[in-house]
Amino acid sequence: MKDLPIHAIADKSAPRSFWRRPATQQFLLVVPALAALVLLFVYPISSVLLRSLFSPELTFKHYIYFFKTPLYTRVLWITFQISLLSTLSALVVGYPVAYVLRRARPGIRNIFLLAITLSFMISLLVRNYSWIIVLQRNGVLNSILDYFGLIESPMKLLHNRFGVMVGMTHIFVPYIIFPIYSVMMGMDLNLEKAAQNLGATKWQTFWRVTFPLSLPGIGAGALLVFIMALGFFITPALLGGRKDQMLSNLIQIQVVDLLNWPFASAMSVILLIVTLVVFAIYNRYLGVERLWGGVKT
């Protein structure tokens, strides 16, 4: 009864015209959102695609140029490299936190969760900026190390790969913790007890029981982070050096500094396709609902 369309109860008169049918009326509710998306999403993205292919007649020269120029293929490679490494380092930092969250007393768990959520909610720019303050030449970290006499001269921690990795890991860790934590909350800890009763050591228990059971969370978090990392722009621009610029940063340079829209469009299409391929893998193995958390169909 509960799931019956409301109009079916309100008005039981049998055959109705097209416009009076519940399905039509329900569909009309989604029309404004769809219209907005077609106009403000599908159309703009298609114009990027068209811009990369027509100038004015059909040509693949921008794509050919991209894949024939070592500079650009190298940036594509760097983009993959940074995305993979930052995903791994976020996993290394985030997994133990999720593990502890599952087992900690409610008091400590809440403090941890509060810190993670707050970090997650703070402006991206502020988070990147805070690392500039910490890592720069006369920044907080160098000042502290110098104060204790641990370094002779300030270390170069910013505008290099290290800076990018630190900044991106910092942003991605919450995205890793939440899915692993939610999978772990559904895990029966008696399985660990059983393993120990059967003579497994602590490490064996972890690697053969706990870790495999947490794999769905790891997969969901890691793929989500990897997808985000592929298109990352802010952190490489602010914390990276010349050699750490990703595909996104090159697109911005092409548009803003070189005004080369067709080539920027081609690069955007390449970035979009790479992202969609990774997303298709995600969708194939984990299902969109994990990301969506929402509407089931």
């Binding site: 509960k2 369309p5 409301i6 399905a23 329900q26 569909f27 509710l29 989604v30 959102a33 769809l34 907005a36 998306l37 403000l40 999403f41 599908v42 159309y43 993205i45 930092v93 133990p96 936190v97 593990y99 502890v100 941890f112 810190a115 707050l118 970090s119 703070i122 402006s123 991206l124 720019l125 988070r127 900026y129 805070s130 303050i133 920044g139 800890l189 660990e192 120990q196 009763n197 592929l230 298109g231 722009f233 802010i234 602010l238 595909l247 996104s248 697109i251 911005q252 803003v256 829209w261 469009s265 955007s268 970035l271 979009l272 969109v288 969506w292 958390g293 929402g294 509407v295 169909t297």
Partner: protein, 277 residues
């Protein structure tokens, strides 16, 4: 099994966390939160350069920020763009969620996929897409252009909490209202909406925060006439040393804390109103 091993197993507590694990996880939490919290003491410095630790303590940077016309314009621009985006995206999201959660029609899966897709497209691609299409209609450098660009971006984030709330809503309440003689409009405004309101507000807050903090699209679209707060902060971080920045960051930190409390309260309300299914 030897007696010792049996004893060990009997004493095994899966909830036990060894000290190395405490050290590792506490360090991770420190790594997440310390750099941002560090900005609070840094914001109290009065010198013209950013120093650690600050030599003179005071609220000069905050005073400067609140009396600076360009920064104030940026704040007002950001508030109005984020506000308008949030309203637009919440209305579209609420209507779409009603249809997608309760409706029965063909193509729901496809429509879901379309609504979610802006989440997956890299921001830089969206930025270029809007740059090209807004240039065609002369909306570059306008707040309206920014609102148009942020609407698809924020739509998934307002649909998400709204549809989650709708799924927990007990529809027999609507049937009761209809049986008691209310029409469908009255039922929605008097029964359904008040109950799902916390979910709708959560969606509105998410949309607001995303639009308020967005910088990549802003870099392409703001121009010089519709500079938002993140765009201005970006320029300052990138090209100059601005002693006001830690103070501005602290204010944004407070905003995040406020939002955290607000969404927490709303979540509790949703949980209280939903009948367990």
């Amino acid at each position: 099994m030897s007696t010792r091993a049996r004893k060990k197993a009997a004493h095994f507590d899966p909830l036990h966390i060894g000290w190395p694990l405490w050290v590792v996880s506490a360090s991770a939490i420190f790594f997440l939160i310390a750099p941002v919290l560090l900005l609070i003491p840094m914001s109290l410095g009065s010198a013209e350069i950013i120093e650690f630790p600050p030599s003179k303590i005071g609220l000069d940077q905050y005073r400067k920020f609140f009396n600076h016309p360009a920064w104030q314009t940026a704040v007002v621009n950001s508030l109005s763009v984020a506000g308008m985006t949030s309203i637009l995206s919440t209305i579209l999201g609420l209507l779409a969620s009603l249809a997608l959660v309760w409706g029965r029609f063909k193509g729901k899966g496809f429509i879901n996929a379309v609504i979610i897709s802006p989440m997956i497209v890299p921001l830089i691609v969206l930025a270029l897409a809007f740059y090209i299409s807004l240039a065609k209609v002369g909306l570059l450098g306008t707040k309206f252009g920014l609102v148009l660009a942020y609407t698809p971006l924020t739509l998934p984030f307002s649909v998400l909490p709204i549809s989650a709330t709708l799924r927990g809503f007990d529809r027999s309440l609507e049937h009761a209202a209809l049986n008691l003689g209310a029409n469908r409009f009255q039922t929605f405004t008097k029964i359904t909406f008040p109950i799902i309101r916390p979910g709708v507000l959560t969606g509105a807050i998410f949309a607001f925060m995303i639009a308020f903090d967005e910088v990549v699209i802003a870099l392409f679209i703001c121009g010089t006439d519709a500079v938002t707060l993140p765009k201005k902060m970006w320029d300052v971080i990138r090209y100059e040393i601005e002693p006001m920045l830690p103070a501005i960051s602290t204010l944004l930190l407070l905003l995040a804390a406020l939002i955290l409390v607000l969404t927490g309260v709303l979540q509790r309300r949703i949980a209280r109103r939903m009948t367990p299914r």
